[in-house]
């Protein structure tokens, strides 16, 4: 391990405590002590119900929560903090758009387009919204290597299209999609662009104003923050015209027995007591990433991906899904190993202390399109190192032998 590796590893006690080689970062990342400590500090020093109390502690809690919102907004380049709605995760963020925006503004005859490469969380909400409104859901098919281009969207989009949903980085291919290009095509046809940032916000710099997407959803837990906190970015004027998603406390201004007027954006979308500890943890996770900087993070992830892919290529029984170019993977290596079922592959990795994911990766329509039921996925974070990859490769090359093949 290099000195830098050691320095980074020190930030993740679980990697030592559990003696695990953790290669399932696309599912969730591990948490550094500064994040755990930030949540701890909040509950030890500032906890009260925010946004409602008139006493000092409640004001403290409100400040902690709203400062976190500002940190998140700055991190992804939002024009103002109010454009960030805190949610539980990317799935809830996408559902918020589907329930609040799509069910209000879409009608029969309209169309929603989503790609076949989407995670179920960026597909099922659209299926349901289409059913509820009578709009039609159309799938944009990627190429078998995951390629999706704005030109491909251009071919199927029409003036009927009102929403286009595209992941920025696919959790299967790891490919970075040209969200800016998709947004341009969507806008030129009078549609809005929903970007799923669940895999991109943790791994590449994101600037929502530059991308000009109308919505972006992501989860804290995939970027070193606690579970249970996520965010929806939306352009302010959209949030203003969208109706609330959930009703109850803290999202109202004035309530009578007949009805209510709603709080200002973004609070009208945050019914009930919010997750301040999570928001504070997410803000700290962002500062943690900023301390290392994108250059360190992306460089390490790219180098490790390239190193792993080079070794995998030397082994004829392994087939990596997606591009041949490591730069198009962002740490995500989904693969097939001839003759061995992904669940057995993952079980054998587990016997060797290596955590990888097997299954359909919450993308069953994509798996079907690729002609497979399931695959195995190793996914990296910048705390992984060369030793992790060596161990991964060494085990990978043993699996077929352990399963009774000659080589």
């Amino acid at each position: 391990m290099t000195e830098k590796d050691k320095l980074i590893r020190k930030e993740f006690p679980i990697l030592k405590n559990r003696n695990v080689i953790y290669l399932d970062n696309a599912a969730t990342s591990q948490k550094p002590p500064c994040v755990i400590e930030a949540a701890n500090q909040y509950y030890s020093m500032h906890n009260a119900n925010p946004l409602r109390g008139l006493y000092e502690l409640s004001v403290d809690a409100t400040d902690a929560y709203e400062n976190a919102r500002k940190t998140v907004a700055d991190f992804i380049g939002a024009a103002r903090p109010e454009e960030i709605v805190f949610t539980r995760n990317a799935s809830e963020s996408l559902n918020l758009i589907a329930y609040s925006y799509a069910r209000t503004f879409l009608k029969e005859g309209d169309e929603i387009i989503c790609t076949i490469a989407e995670h179920h969380s960026n597909m099922l909400p659209w299926q349901q919204a289409a059913k509820a409104t009578g709009a039609k859901l159309t799938y944009l098919y990627c190429e078998k290597d995951g390629t999706l281009t704005p030109e491909m969207l251009e071919e199927i989009i029409s003036e009927k299209t009102k929403l286009v949903a595209v992941t920025q980085i696919s959790n299967v291919f790891g490919r970075l999609n040209d969200i800016k290009g998709f947004a341009k095509v969507a806008h030129a046809n009078g549609a809005l662009l929903v970007a799923d940032g669940a895999q991109s916000v943790p791994h590449v710099p994101v600037d929502v104003q530059d991308l000009d997407c109308d919505f972006m959803a992501f989860s804290g837990h995939k970027m070193f923050a606690p579970m249970g906190i996520g965010a929806l970015y939306a352009k302010y004027d959209l949030l203003e015209k969208m109706p609330p998603f959930l009703f109850g406390g803290e999202m109202i201004e004035y309530v009578t027995t007949e009805g209510a007027t709603y709080a200002e954006v973004p609070h009208k979308f945050e019914a009930g007591t919010v997750n301040v500890g999570g928001a504070v943890g997410l803000a700290e996770a962002i500062r943690f990433m900023q301390r290392f900087g994108w250059e360190t993070i992306t460089k390490r992830e790219d180098e490790l991906t390239a190193y792993a892919m080079e070794k995998m290529k030397e082994y004829p029984y392994v087939h990596v899904i997606g591009s041949d170019d490591p730069k198009e993977h962002h740490g995500i290596l989904t693969f097939k190993l001839d003759g061995v079922h992904p669940h057995d592959i993952a079980a054998i990795f587990d016997e060797h202390g290596i955590a990888v994911r097997a299954g359909h990766h919450c993308a069953q329509p994509l798996m079907k399109y690729l002609g497979t039921l399931s695959t195995t996925r190793a996914s990296l974070a910048f705390y992984n190192n060369k030793e992790d990859i060596d161990a991964f490769i060494e085990t990978l090359m043993e699996i077929r032998k352990e399963m009774g093949y000659a080589e």
Binding site: H343, A347, H352, G359, E394, E398
Partner: protein
């Protein structure tokens, strides 16, 4: 490489060289068993005459545990009465739950090598797929 793998030779052999994985001519009972979450999918076929399983086979796809388990099950139950097969299925399922005696386990012959699945919650469904399918089918016989 360490050698304490769960995937021992008996298991991998049943997976790579199954005896009973084929189409069964003249089967009078057939049922599909599926684990949607992992994609294990088998069709179990039995030929039952006068309450006795005279032949059996399976087809389909899945992980080594689901496939080997079905193959070992058929090794065990072909030639046995329907009631005997049900009794063995009950023992197997209790073995996977971890509530079985040594003597009972011996009755399972090779299939007893799957007893460690009782400590592998993620793989329980794979191991029991064939057995559950057979149980369900024999209730109809």
């Amino acid at each position: 490489m360490q050698n304490n793998t769960f995937y021992n030779e008996v298991l991998t052999d049943h997976n790579l060289h199954p005896v009973h994985k084929h189409h069964l001519e003249g089967a009078n009972f057939s049922l599909e068993g599926v684990n949607p979450s992992c994609g294990d999918d088998i069709v179990l076929s039995l030929k039952v005459e006068d309450g006795k399983i005279v032949d059996g086979a399976y087809e389909g796809d899945g992980c080594a545990i689901s496939q080997a388990s079905a193959d070992m099950m058929l090794d065990l139950v072909i030639g046995k009465s329907k009631d005997e097969a049900q009794r063995l299925a009950d023992i197997f399922l209790r073995m996977i739950k971890g509530t079985v005696t040594e003597e009972e386990m011996e009755e399972l012959e090779e299939a007893s090598i799957l007893s460690d699945v009782s400590h592998m919650p993620a793989r329980v469904k794979c191991a029991v797929l064939g057995w559950h399918t057979m149980q369900e089918m024999l209730e109809e016989v």
